[in-house]
Symmetry: C2
Subunit: 204 residues, 2 copies
DNA sequence: GTATAACTTTACCGGACGGTAAATCGGGGG
DNA sequence: CCCCCGATTTACCGTCCGGTAAAGTTATAC
């Protein structure tokens, strides 16, 4: 039931369900999420969910793909940006923004990190999130490689540096979300600059 | 109901319940944990839990304190260790060991990180975990400060470096647990060495 | 206009959930 | 010997859960 349907209205309805799931998940958290709550966040009744998805597990897997896709699609960089500027933009985007439609960056991250933790008990979720991790890390690795080619970065192991940056972003967000450390994303940004990006520059 | 009881047997029973909770949590995961499952992991019936704890929420908060305490108590360092050796030992302990009784390091970490993610929806859990984070980070900051005093480390911001190390440990574990990246803890160890500890040494 | 297919609603179910009341057990003091 | 009381078991309950069957609605094609 996860493959896209043909008709227009069913696509709309699936979108409506995804947004309702988001709203319910934001308010209740993953552990207290009930099909009924999702229904209450829509104009439609909760039983339509069972028509469009094969039960709760399928819904959650589809929702995880939906939110990961939104995340990936949200990255905007100019083609003519220099590598360092693009790298900065990507990092800032992961740590601080952007907002679109009714949901804030931290709404999305709260839900994302909650599903991330749950993935250890769900192979399907783990697979989706691993793909997404590779995608995010890959986009950072790519810009580092471009910087090396263009001579603005030192000839480092791009994969390794990309992973460091990705992980530093992740833990900065998580400390804010799980422990309530409001300053954690800013601190993560500074640590990335000082300990990783500085050793990337050719003119250090 | 969280304060320690006086009698001997009630203390034993609480311990039995904690261990049963651990076993159930390891097998089922937090989201699928039921009072019934904990009962099945003990010789006692599940209703004794309600005699010793004020329901599931109180049980889980007590369990979180129990597991955090175990974690803290597990760190063994000699008093006469030099700061760099103690720092290495503490990092390795957080990343790789030790095991005690029937549970492995990763059993404990799986449960710990799952509760960590849940803390964003539970103020009591957040408070306990924040205290624990400060404790772990504090022990690392302390040894860095000692190293600075003894002249084996450069005069850096010990609090900042302690946080970097703590966070790098956390994300290395999480990537292994949530995404199944078996090599992540090793990579975290190498990254800590190369990017953080190297810039601590006076003889770089 | 009416047959058909897509979609939505109404009504309902069996089971699992956390929790409680009351009965029972078992050891120490009188 | 029995009473007391903390500890545990047995039996049970009201509620909520995810899911389904069937009726109703709407739009389109012929």
């Amino acid at each position: 039931m996860s493959e896209p349907d043909e008709t227009v209205s069913s696509k709309d309805t699936r979108e409506v369900i995804m947004e309702a799931t988001f709203r319910a998940l934001r308010q209740r958290g993953y552990g207290d999420l009930r099909m009924r709550h999702i229904g209450e966040e829509m104009d439609l009744t909760r039983q339509v969910i069972h028509y469009h998805f094969d039960g709760k597990d399928d819904l959650m897997a589809s929702f995880l793909e939906y939110i990961a896709e939104q995340y990936e699609g949200s990255v905007e960089v100019d083609d003519d940006m220099d590598p360092r500027a693009e790298l900065d933009a990507r990092i800032d985007q992961c740590l601080f923004g952007p907002e679109f439609d009714e949901f804030t960056h931290w709404d999305r991250m709260k839900v994302y990190h909650e599903l991330f933790a749950h993935a250890q008990n769900d192979d399907r979720h783990q697979e989706i999130l691993d793909d997404h991790y590779e995608q995010i890390k890959g986009s950072i690795v790519a810009v580092i490689e471009r910087g090396i080619d263009e001579g603005v970065f030192r000839d480092v192991d791009a994969d390794r540096f990309g992973q460091l940056v990705t992980d530093a972003i992740h833990v900065g967000r998580e400390r804010r979300i799980s422990l309530g450390h409001e300053e954690a994303p800013e601190e993560a940004r500074e640590a990335i600059d000082e300990f990783i990006l500085d050793s990337l520059s050719v003119d250090e």
